[in-house]
């Protein structure tokens, strides 16, 4: 019999979505609802001399104009508490909220926001990460040392978090290498760009507030509202209607507290809906720019002997979750290769730009883009085929990483072989085409997560979970896992989720963790229900539970298919008498041992638990005269453990590949010297269209991981965007003979590199 995962299972929220009847946050309207609009900083860095809200308040239809003075004196931030809800004294980036208006219509709210008079004293703008770390650079946060911070964050001035990884003796190894290659790469800021912009609605009932929010992380949003408004967490309920994508851009706590405060001040529900341009410059979750310097020593037989790296990541004006990025980027600067001598130093520089935060595989696509191009340069330095160089150095079972983690059975080498086979590496191509290859890796994130499973009297089931669906397929994987435990069909289950008053705590749609952790929770909950069903079945079938199995919607005696009772019958009998209810959280899988004694600034990334390995091979055509590239074909091979939900996993890979193509070729923010983004709109921040996206073939190395999630699975959501830009960079360099050292590799940059022009 086919397992549930192999049977075609239509996503439970699908009909709601294709009919257009499903509601997203901005689709909701409350009786008496007001509309919020923010007044943002008029400078990227300035001292606020005064704020005059009189004209705004006098505008008919305006209910409230809120500033820093109207909310509790609280600083917040997951690693460094450097933020406030509203600008206080100083604005540090263009999207900083100075004031918020609640009015009867969005138009009046906008007009009122514009009528607020803010008097500023402009301050020097720090927009370049290297300048930010230079001696004597103006401080983005004069009072940085006074901020509370997690004790593990190493900070100094504009360096908000510094991390190093040292293993072996890099100097000696470089001196003894047959060839040494040193390169520098620069990645520009880019964005998550979910098609649904941020939206939030708050409504109070007594001293409790419900916020409907387009967040990926409802439990973290709940904590944020409670912390910043100084109310008990139990007084805050976050509900997420259908969520129109996130990709990290809707992680962290964003604007739920602002609308909650406005709703409390006005005794009205208040709705905030972002425009696309706000989506670009305001939220604290864009993909950070990086400066990446790499130096690698290699022997003539292709053995990598040393890697030195210096990385500076752009934190932007405030620390969202980026303080763990330097250590994560340092791990990616080594990459999925055996390198016995490593020294990587990574910093996170404050600048007067939009704050960085986790966007789908944070730090990895940029760092991997540099490392994978660098690998091709290293291969060229010894006259070796770049795939062969990777083949000789890629991690395999028993190898140790830069932090001395000994690897379990992994499929990294298989991904390389399968990707190059799928694309036909080595085949004859037209002279303007080439195949580029990139490898990458990404950790799984084990952590707490909670769920309940109950069976209803009619034999249907309900999964009550803290998990968050944002297009990733959680609504598919969880019923598949529960159904397998209970011998039922995934279609038999409804899901009650995205409501912090219902499910158990979960980290949200982030870190590729939903199926990994919540899958474990729902299986544990389902096993409790299974035990309850077996107990009922013992009575019905007069057999002991060891002899009973749950299959095809029935409890039946093993070996005697005619002795069975439908689960619907058992559920009906239990109704009103016994509760068929299970709860689960489960212990996260064990974390592999590491020896990180050579590391500083440790924030957990020294361990790559249940790592996913990825190889992408791309065939690219380059118009040498214009630098315009078109990706014609992609082969993607992933070792992400056992695949639980094939349709969902394919969707993640296909979407991640195309996001990676966008990052590689066109997606980048252009920031002026004034610290402002110059292309905060979709005509000039260009996503890939359906006409651009190539056919993608996929090969999963479907092998269980001992440190994995359910059934030996690993995270699948983030890895697909990791190696694509590097693979494309390698293909471009093969066609043009010139490497592009800045991301995105726009047509102009490809052209400039190919023609030796300074771009």
């Amino acid at each position: 019999m086919a397992t549930a995962a192999q049977t075609k299972f239509i996503r439970p929220d699908g009909k709601d979505k294709v009919t257009g009847l499903g509601r997203y946050t901005a689709d909701l309207t409350m009786t008496g609802m007001l509309h919020a609009c923010f007044r943002y900083a008029d400078h990227a860095h300035a001292r606020i001399r005064s704020i005059d809200t009189a004209k705004a308040r006098a505008l008919p239809g305006v209910f409230y104009v809120m500033t820093d003075k109207d909310v509790p004196d609280v600083r917040y931030g997951p690693f460094v508490e450097d933020r406030t809800l509203f600008a206080r004294d100083v604005v540090r980036y263009e999207g900083e909220v100075v004031a918020a208006v609640a009015a009867t219509t969005p138009e009046i709210a906008r007009e009122a926001a514009a009528l607020i008079d803010v008097d500023y004293e402009p301050l020097p703008v720090v927009s370049d990460v290297e300048a930010a770390l230079a001696d004597g650079a103006p401080l983005v946060h004069e009072g940085w040392s006074g901020y509370s911070a997690s004790g593990d964050v190493v900070r100094e001035g504009n360096d908000a978090s510094r991390s190093t990884i040292v293993k072996g003796d890099v100097d000696a190894a470089l001196a003894s290498a047959d060839a040494v290659v040193k390169e520098r790469y620069v990645a520009d800021m880019s964005h998550a760009v979910p098609i649904e912009p941020h939206a939030a609605i708050a409504q109070w009932q007594g001293d409790r507030v419900t916020v409907w929010s387009s967040t990926q992380v409802p439990y973290i949003a709940r904590s944020g509202v409670a912390t910043t408004l100084e109310i008990p967490e139990g007084h805050v309920r976050i509900i997420v209607p259908h969520l129109g994508g996130g990709f990290g851009g809707k992680c962290e706590f964003h604007y739920e507290a602002h609308v909650a405060a406005l709703a409390r001040a006005t005794d009205r529900p208040v709705r905030l809906v972002f425009s696309r341009s706000e989506e670009f410059f305001a939220p604290d979750h864009r993909r950070e720019g990086q400066v990446i310097e790499l130096e690698t020593g290699v022997m003539n037989d292709g053995t990598l002997v040393a890697r030195r790296g210096r990385l500076i990541l752009d934190n932007g004006a405030y620390s969202a979750d980026a303080p763990f990025f330097p250590q994560l980027a340092a791990m990616h600067a080594v990459g999925p290769y055996r390198i016995p001598n490593v020294s990587v130093d990574a910093s996170l520089a404050y600048t007067n730009t939009t704050p960085s935060g986790s966007v789908r595989a944070p730090t990895a696509p940029q760092a991997c883009w540099a490392v994978e191009q660098h690998m091709d340069s290293v291969a060229a330095s010894i006259g070796m085929d770049p795939v062969e160089l990777r083949r000789r150095n890629i991690l395999k079972e028993g190898d140790t990483t830069a932090t001395n983690q000994v690897l379990e059975p992994i499929g990294a080498a298989e991904t390389l072989e399968r990707a190059v086979e799928l694309i036909g590496y080595g085949k004859a191509l037209p002279e303007d085409e080439a195949i580029g290859v990139g490898c990458g890796w990404w950790p799984s994130f084990g952590g707490p997560s909670g769920a309940f499973v109950k069976l209803n009297g009619d034999g249907s089931g309900t999964i009550i979970t803290g998990a968050q669906e944002c297009g990733t397929g959680a609504v598919m994987a969880l019923p598949i896992l529960v159904a397998e435990e209970l011998g039922m069909r995934p279609e038999d289950f409804s899901i009650l989720a995205q409501d912090t008053d219902a499910g158990g705590w979960d980290a949200g749609a982030s870190g590729s963790q939903t199926t990994f952790n919540n899958g474990r929770a729902v299986i544990e909950a389902a096993r409790e229900v299974r035990a309850q069903l077996l107990e009922l079945a013992e009575e019905e079938l007069e057999a002991s539970r060891e002899d009973i199995e749950l299959v095809e919607g029935a409890a039946r005696v093993k070996g005697s298919p005619t002795k069975s009772v439908p689960i619907t019958t058992l559920a009906d009998k239990a109704q009103g008498d016994r509760l068929l209810l299970g709860k689960g959280s489960g212990s996260p899988p064990p974390s592999p041992d590491v020896d990180a004694s050579g590391c500083t600034g440790r924030l957990g990334m020294e361990t790559f638990a249940a790592p996913t390995f990825i190889t992408h091979a791309v065939r690219v055509r380059v118009d040498r005269e214009t630098g315009v590239c078109r990706v014609l074909e992609v082969a993607a091979s992933h070792d992400c453990g056992v695949i639980l939900n094939p349709v969902g996993a394919e969707g993640q890979v296909e979407g991640g590949v195309v996001m990676g193509i966008g990052m590689a070729t066109l997606e980048g923010s252009i920031v002026g010297e004034d610290g402002r983004q110059r292309n905060p709109h979709l005509l000039d921040y260009k996503l890939q269209t359906s006409a651009d996206a190539p056919p993608i073939s996929i090969a999963f190395v479907d092998a269980p991981s001992p440190y994995g999630g359910p059934k030996g699975s690993k995270g699948t959501g983030e890895p697909p965007c990791v190696p694509t830009p590097g693979a494309i960079g390698n293909a471009i360099a093969q066609v043009t003979g010139a490497r592009v050292h800045q991301l995105p590799m726009t047509p102009e940059r490809v052209w400039a590199a190919a023609h030796g022009v300074d771009a």
Binding site: T626, V628, R678, L683, D684, D692, A759
Partner: protein, 302 residues
């Protein structure tokens, strides 16, 4: 957005009367420039809108006295699909076929494109090389201006208050002609010209007897390149001759730097686009069926 006044005249005469009566009134057809610009905050919507999208008789695409007559309300979709345009005024089909998305092309009109006067507009350069004339009508009567005379700068036209564009008359190219419009684009959809070039090449007895070259997004308006045209005339349309002509376009190109490209890149690219446009035009003149749109046949996004 202003509460404003919306007027929908039933006839051209009524439209002209309303335009004259309401100072500052704006015409709206497809809305793809006017309404989008308002939503982006570039401008507020004018107090009075005169909606002309349903005016009868202004969306024609027909041959009249040997010339192509296109009504101001003809959509890019209709132009792109017109066998008449594709056959003899091919460069215009090349341009209309790559405006925005299918949805844009279904509502956006040629008249709107001309009136918006963007130096990056796709249909401008083709109309220039064909020597098109724009018909402007006001309450006092009508006049025609050469299409190059319509634009006064980015977003500005020479149309007087109360005048509207009613149509375009495009003379037929001489026998033995071919034309093409090619732009630099970064994606295969939803693009706007970074730079672009149109060419009309007429070949007689193996040599170029006439040539017109016009350039998009390298000057405050669409401009012709007399030097490139001069370099082609009388020459056999060899690769060398075409390259030499394209290299001459810098007489007319004074590009700026913006988020879509630097001036240096635009300068280099306008030469490439001009060469490709001339090349396709010459091939079409010689009878070769280069598919429409030419950009997606000879460009990096092909």
């Amino acid at each position: 957005m202003t509460r404003g006044t919306y007027l929908e005249p039933a006839s051209l005469d009524e439209a002209l009367r309303l335009l004259a009566e309401h100072d500052g009134a704006a015409l709206v057809a497809g809305g793809t420039d006017l309404v989008v610009g308002t939503r982006q905050g570039k401008r507020t919507l004018p107090e009075t809108l005169v909606a002309i999208h349903r005016l009868p008789g202004l969306d024609g695409i027909a041959e009249e006295d040997g010339a192509l007559a296109i009504g101001a309300l003809a959509t890019h979709d209709a132009i792109e699909r017109s066998e008449l345009v594709r056959g003899r005024w091919t460069a215009l089909a090349d341009a209309s076929a790559i405006v925005g998305s299918p949805a844009t092309r279904h509502v956006a009109t040629l008249g709107g494109n001309l009136a918006n006067a963007s130096p990056a507009m796709e249909t401008g350069a083709p109309l220039v090389v064909f020597g098109a004339e724009v018909e402007l009508r006001g309450q006092g009567g009508s006049r025609t201006v050469p299409v190059e005379g319509l634009w006064a700068g980015p977003g500005r036209t020479t149309a007087a208050a109360g005048e509207m564009i009613t149509g375009v008359r495009v003379p037929a190219p001489a026998d033995g002609s071919g034309s093409a419009y090619v732009r630099l684009e970064y994606r295969r959809a939803m693009e706007i010209a970074v730079v672009g070039a149109a060419a009309l090449v007429t070949i007689g007895a193996g040599a170029v007897s006439d040539a017109r070259v016009a350039l998009t997004a390298v000057a405050p308006t669409i401009v012709r390149s007399p030097a490139a045209e001069g370099a082609l005339r009388g020459r056999e349309p060899t690769a060398e001759a075409i390259a030499a002509a394209a290299a001459a376009v810098h007489d007319a190109a004074t590009p700026i730097s913006d988020v879509r490209g630097s001036d240096a890149y635009r300068r280099a690219m306008i030469e490439v686009m001009a060469r490709r446009a001339i090349d396709v035009a010459a091939r079409r003149a010689a009878g070769e069926a280069v598919p429409i749109p030419a950009t997606m046949t000879v460009g990096g996004t092909r």
